[in-house]
Amino acid sequence: MKPVASPPHLSAAEFHTACTTLVNSFNALQDAPSKAKWLDISLDPGENMLRIAKELSVTTTSHQEPNSHDGPEIEDDDDDERLHSTANNTPLIHYDVLLSSSYTVPVLYFYISDALHRYPPTMDTLYMHIIAPEYVDQTKDVGVLGGITITDHPIFNRPVFFIHPCRTAEVIQASLGGRDISSFEYLLMWIGAMGKSVALDVQVDLVLNAREMLQGPDETIEPFAKV
C-alpha cells in the first residue's frame, strides 16, 4: 500500500482505499466474539461514507457483569438497561465517517437509534450515555460547547453528534512524527485519536487480519498500540 501522499491530509481516493480495507478485513474475521463488537460496517460508495454500527453499551451507568443474565429475572423496575438490552430493542450507536472536503481529513458523525426514542441528540445524551466518565472533563473543556457538539449530518441533514475537524490535522501530524504511513494505517490512527472518547475502537484481530491481507505475514510491523 502506498504511503499517504500529503499527510496529515487525506484525498478522497485514499480515504476510499482505507475504508475498503477496513470493511474487507472486518468481513474476513473468523472469530465470532471479535466480530460481534461491531454489528455492521459498510462503505457507502456514492457518498464515500464509512458506516459502523454497534450496540450501545450501557455499562457506564451500571456495575453489573454483562454475563449475569442467567437466573430468574425478578428485578426492580429501575433496571431499564436490563429490560431493553434484549432482542431487537437494543439501541444502536452509529458512526458515520466522511472526508471533509474543506479540511481534507476524516470527520466523525455519530448518533443513537432507538425504537423507544430515549436518546435524542442532546448534550445530556452525549454525556450520560456515550462519553465514558473519564473523558467527560477533557471533552467539555474545548470550544463553546465542548469538543463534541451537535450539528446536522452532512448527508441526512438531521441533528447528530460530531467532532469538529479543525484540530484533526494537528493531532494526526503530531502522532505521525514524520513517518510515512499507508492510508489504512492513517484511518486506524484517526479512529484511535478521535474514537476513544466516544466508544469507537478497532478490535485487535481486525488489525492483524488486515496486515496479513495487505503485507503478508512475514514483514515486521510496528505495533499500533501506541496510537
Binding site: 457507502d44 456514492g46 458506516r51 454500527a53 444502536l92 452509529h94 472536503s101 474543506s102 479540511y103 448518533y111 437509534s113 432507538d114 425504537a115 426514542h117 435524542p120 441528540p121 442532546t122 470550544g143 463553546v144 460547547l145 457538539t149 451537535i150 450539528t151 446536522d152 449530518h153 452532512p154 448527508i155 441526512f156 441533514n157 438531521r158 441533528p159 469538529h164 479543525c166
Partner: protein
C-alpha cells in the same frame, strides 16, 4: 462609498416580514394576536424565539414551558433556527425569486428590503412536541447557535485561506465583537472583524465558502438511508421517513482563482459541484435555479464579488435551489 461597501450594507439591512401565530394546541385563547416583525435576512430565528416566548407568554396553555421548547414551522416544515432566515425564506416560502430579466439595468439587483407589498411569511410557533430528530434544541445561553456559528466561520476561513489561522488567531475581544455584532445587529462591530477575514494579511483568497441547498425533489438519492438505520416515527412524516422540507446540502472545493487567472463564476462553481444539473459552465439548469437573497443568481456573476458583498454573516454563500 464604493459599490462593494454599498451592496454589503444593503444586503445587511435586507429584511423579511413575518407573521407568527401560536399553534392552536399551545394556545389558551381564541383571539391571540399574531406577532409581526421585519426580521433581517442575515439573522437567525434562534434570536427571535425568546422574544416570541415573552410575547405569547400570557396565551400559553402551559405558561411554565421554557423558551427553549419553542420551534417554528412553515407548511409542516420545522425551521432550522441555525439557518439564516434569508436562506429559509428562499428555500421554503414559495415566493417567486427576482430575476435580472425583471428589472431594468439601472436598478441595483440586490433587494435592499422586501417590497412594501410583500405579503408576510406566515409561520406557526409551537411549544410542544419538539421535533428532536429534526431540530437541534435551543439552549437558554444560546451556546448551540454560537457554536454552530463559530464552526461555520472557522470552516469558511479555512476555505478562503487554506488555513484556519485568521479565526484561530483572533483575539478574544474580536471574536466577542463578531458574535455581538451578529446578535445585536451592529454593522460596524461586525464589519470590523469580518474585514479581517476577507482581507487576510499576505494571503490571497483560495476557495469559496459555498453551500448549496437542494430540495429533496432535485436529489432523489438522499434521505432514505438514514431512516433505515434510525427509527423514524410513522406519524405523517411522509413516505420512507423522508421529512417534509428535507434538503440535500452540497459543498466542495470551489477554487476562487484558477491557474489561468480566469475570473471564476457562479456557473463554473455549479458545474463543479452539481455536474449532473449544470452540464456546462454557462447553460442554465432546466429544473432548478440557484437563489441568493431572494434573487436568481446570474451564472456569470463573479464569485469573489459575491463573497465580498453577499455572503451571510458566517462568511458562506448559502444558496437555495428552487424548482422551476
Amino acid at each position: 462609498m464604493d459599490v462593494t461597501a454599498l451592496l454589503r450594507e444593503r444586503v445587511w439591512s435586507a429584511s423579511i416580514p413575518l407573521e407568527i401565530s401560536l399553534h392552536t394546541a399551545d394556545c389558551a385563547s381564541y383571539d391571540a394576536v399574531p406577532y409581526l416583525v421585519h426580521a433581517p435576512r442575515l439573522s437567525y430565528l434562534a434570536f427571535l424565539l425568546p422574544k416570541l416566548h415573552a410575547f405569547f407568554y400570557t396565551s400559553l396553555i402551559y405558561p411554565d414551558v421554557s423558551p427553549t421548547d419553542a420551534w417554528l414551522e412553515y407548511d409542516h416544515v420545522p425551521l432550522k433556527w441555525h439557518y439564516p432566515l434569508g436562506l429559509l425564506y428562499d428555500l421554503y416560502s414559495g415566493a417567486e425569486p427576482a430575476s435580472s430579466h425583471d428589472i431594468s439595468a439601472e436598478h441595483v439587483q440586490v433587494p435592499s428590503s422586501e417590497d412594501e407589498e410583500t405579503p408576510p411569511w406566515k409561520l406557526t410557533l409551537h411549544f410542544s412536541n419538539y421535533p428532536k430528530d429534526q431540530l437541534v434544541q435551543l439552549d437558554a445561553q444560546e451556546k448551540h447557535i454560537h457554536d454552530l456559528f463559530i464552526n461555520n466561520v472557522k470552516e469558511a476561513d479555512f476555505l478562503r485561506n487554506g488555513t484556519g489561522k485568521t479565526v484561530m488567531s483572533l483575539s478574544k475581544e474580536d471574536s466577542e465583537q463578531l458574535w455581538e455584532g451578529v446578535k445585536q445587529r451592529d454593522y460596524r462591530r461586525f464589519t470590523r472583524v469580518n474585514n479581517k477575514f476577507l482581507n487576510p494579511q499576505g494571503a490571497t483568497l483560495r476557495h469559496v465558502p459555498m453551500r448549496l441547498y437542494l430540495p429533496h425533489a432535485a436529489s432523489p438519492q438522499a434521505g432514505n438511508r438514514f431512516s433505515s438505520s434510525i427509527h423514524v416515527q410513522e406519524d405523517g412524516k411522509g413516505e420512507k421517513g423522508v421529512m417534509p422540507g428535507s434538503v440535500r446540502v452540497v459543498q466542495g472545493l470551489v477554487p476562487l482563482s484558477s491557474s489561468s487567472r480566469q475570473r471564476q463564476t457562479v456557473g463554473m462553481a455549479l458545474h463543479t459541484l452539481l455536474p449532473n444539473l449544470f452540464r456546462n459552465t454557462r447553460g442554465p439548469c432546466l429544473i432548478a435555479a440557484p437563489v441568493l437573497h431572494g434573487a436568481i443568481l446570474p451564472l456569470d456573476a463573479g464569485l469573489e464579488e459575491l463573497i465580498r458583498t453577499t455572503a451571510y454573516v458566517d462568511g458562506w454563500l448559502h444558496i437555495a435551489f428552487v424548482m422551476l
